[in-house]
């Protein structure tokens, strides 16, 4: 069990190092030298010019040898320094991310967890029940095949624009001040529903299908057959099948994280929702590379942490990993 976790931890560490290296290397080795582009942009902002130029020298240290640059990059990173935003100079990138993060998490966490839970229940119900299966299956495939942003667009168009039930954009009513009043909170919730719903629905389909297939597989497994031969009621067999089918779905949760995060980014863009996705979009439109790189690192760290949590949960719920006879269960 400890070996299992240690192995995973090692992989995450390695992944982190690779990611940071990518983050460091890309602006330096990409064709078209983005640094030049940056410097020319600075020239358009006289007040920021001096400060930014010196920051660049510090950040990129272009006159130093590469390995030195690399170490500097790590040093800054470990000190929590992701650079400063260009579009909102001199706000540190970490501040921008900190501001956007609650919105993204507020969308991501509930939609991931709820879609996982509901999808598993729906999938389990559908398995081996012809009528339900015939609707859940096609609907599930349709939902997983839907691009996140398109479902968002459709919801925004029908429920927002046409029917006017929900707001089309922003995280809260722009005429309100951000403070902890009921009015503000209810406005937050009101603006949250549509982006949440579109993320939730797309993810739901995948989970339902996955669970359905897993349950059918479990119901055909040897232990289920044996139980039924001994006259065990459906109830017991299904209970076991559900529990066992759940386990791969937990690992699946980790594997799906990256895709859902991507989905959250584009959904935010559809709804002009002030999370990381929106931040990235402005970063791209303003060629604010520090913001893009910062968000990138942040997502990596978040996904790796989430993976780690999933692993720990998995070890707790699956006896096979605890016994330690099975190395890589995933």
């Amino acid at each position: 069990m400890l070996r299992y976790l240690a192995r995973k931890l090692f992989i995450y560490l390695l992944t982190f190092i690779v990611a940071v290296t990518i983050d460091w290397a890309i602006p330096r080795f990409m064709p078209g030298n983005p640094v030049d582009a940056l410097v020319s942009r600075i020239a358009l902002m006289p007040d920021a010019n001096a400060a930014l130029t010196s920051y660049f020298m510090a950040a990129f240290n272009l006159d130093q040898p590469l390995w030195q640059q690399y170490l500097n990059f790590w040093w800054a990173l470990l000190n929590g320094d992701l650079g400063r935003s260009i579009m909102l100079f001199p706000t540190p990138v970490t501040t921008l991310i900190g501001r956007a993060l609650p919105y993204t998490l507020g969308l991501l966490l509930p939609s991931i967890l709820l879609s996982w839970y509901v999808g598993n229940v729906v999938g389990a119900l559908a398995a081996r029940r012809k009528l339900l299966d015939n609707t859940v299956l096609p609907l599930g495939y349709l939902l997983t095949a839907t691009p996140y942003m398109w479902l968002g667009i459709l919801l925004a168009w029908v429920l927002g624009s046409s029917l006017g039930w929900f707001p089309l954009a922003f995280g809260y009513d722009q005429s309100l001040k951000a403070e902890w009043t009921w009015k503000f909170i209810s406005s937050l919730l009101y603006h949250w529903i549509l982006p949440f719903a579109s993320l939730f629905l797309v993810a739901l389909g995948g989970w339902a299908i996955g669970m359905r297939n897993m349950i059918i597989y479990e119901l055909e497994s040897d232990y289920a057959n044996y139980l039924m031969a001994l006259g065990a009621p459906q109830r017991l067999v299904r209970k076991y099948a559900f529990r066992n089918a759940m386990l791969p779905q937990i690992t699946g949760l980790a594997l799906q994280l990256g895709a859902v995060v991507g989905g959250a980014l584009v959904t935010e863009i559809v709804f002009s929702y002030p999370g990381l996705g929106w931040l990235v979009l402005s970063g791209i439109q303003n060629q604010d590379y520090f913001v893009i790189q910062g968000v990138f690192l942040f997502i990596i760290v978040g996904v790796l942490l989430a993976n780690l949590i999933v692993d720990v949960v998995y070890v707790i719920v699956d006896p096979r990993t605890r016994v330690g006879l099975q190395g890589d269960a995933a």
């Binding site: 690779v18 890309i26 996140y148 398109w150 991507g262 791209i284």
Partner: protein
């Protein structure tokens, strides 16, 4: 569900091999429906641009028109022909899907075959690599890479998608290869001193060809979805139109507020239909190749 169905160890001796597969394939509703939808869109991508009477990106039409006889899918806020954009976008989607899918399939197969067949240290290293790429949120990587690349074509986009989407395929192929490697015929080939390369592509790959086909189908669909998402953020090809880009333009230019549904419904619908048909075809193929799954 129609009655596709079961063979068994004692399956019909008369209808053997290829014939039997074809027999079940044509009777599999999922496969047939999926294939029809897919082919309809593929034909649209191939011949649509020839039918289009307007250029996709020129501003020569009256702005904001709903669908009409002149402009089948209406026009954008700036007076571009949506139908023309749509069919050109379809073409881009298929190209990116195919190129990205092929790239990922090739990498996934190489990694999976060698890791599964050679085992040992090669397996360890390749497995590590697979795991690293698997946990990295590839979308974020694409984000950074695409943001820095100032000129991007379809090919570049497809290649990057392929480079980041192979790990699950490699993993699955590795597991299959692993189980095949322990079979007699591979052992025989090994004893005969055939080279690794020949054994892999002469013995192992043909024996899991149906599996490889299904893997490629899923990679193809995945590449289309990823491309659409990248395009939507504005990181797609800078030299052509795509379905994701159409959605991006429509959202950025208030098509939602203006109720210009003809601008954003077709591209999303097409992606959903193509990717969905691929997924459904995949399930159908699984049933055709795997007798156990053939419903009664």
């Amino acid at each position: 569900m129609t009655s596709t169905t079961g063979s068994s160890p004692a399956a019909p001796a008369a209808k053997s091999g290829r014939n039997e597969i074809l027999y079940f394939a044509l009777r599999n509703t999922k496969l047939v429906i999926g294939a029809i939808v897919f082919i309809v869109f593929l034909l649209g991508a191939i011949f649509g641009p020839m039918l289009a009477t307007h250029e996709p990106l020129t501003f020569d039409a009256p702005p904001g028109l709903p669908p009409s006889a002149d402009y089948w899918f209406g026009t954008t806020l700036f007076g571009q022909d949506v139908f023309s954009q749509f069919v050109h976008g379809l073409r881009s989607s298929f190209i990116v899907g195919a190129l990205g899918g092929i790239t990922a399939a090739v990498i996934g197969m190489l990694v999976g075959f060698f890791a599964g067949y050679r085992g040992g240290i090669i397996d360890e290293v390749l497995n590590m690599l697979t795991n690293v790429v698997l946990v990295i949120p590839t979308f974020a990587v694409l984000l950074v890479v695409a943001a820095y690349l100032s000129v991007r074509g379809l090919g570049t986009e497809a290649m990057f998608i392929g480079l980041t989407s192979w790990p699950w395929a490699a993993r699955a192929i590795r597991a299959q290869t692993f189980s095949l490697t322990s079979r007699d015929f591979v052992g025989m080939a090994r004893l005969n001193g055939e080279s690794t390369f020949r054994i892999i592509f002469g013995e192992i790959a043909p024996n899991m060809s149906s599996y490889l086909v299904m893997t490629f189908i899923l990679l193809f669909g995945g590449a289309i979805l990823t491309a659409a998402t990248l395009d939507f953020i504005g990181l797609g090809p800078t030299d052509s139109i795509s379905l994701g880009l159409m959605m991006n333009y429509s959202v950025m230019n208030a098509a939602l507020q203006l109720g210009m549904w003809w601008w954003f419904v077709p591209p999303g619908l097409a992606i959903t239909a193509i990717v969905g048909s691929l997924y459904v075809m995949n399930v159908g193929l699984d049933e055709v190749f795997n007798p156990k799954l053939r419903a009664l």
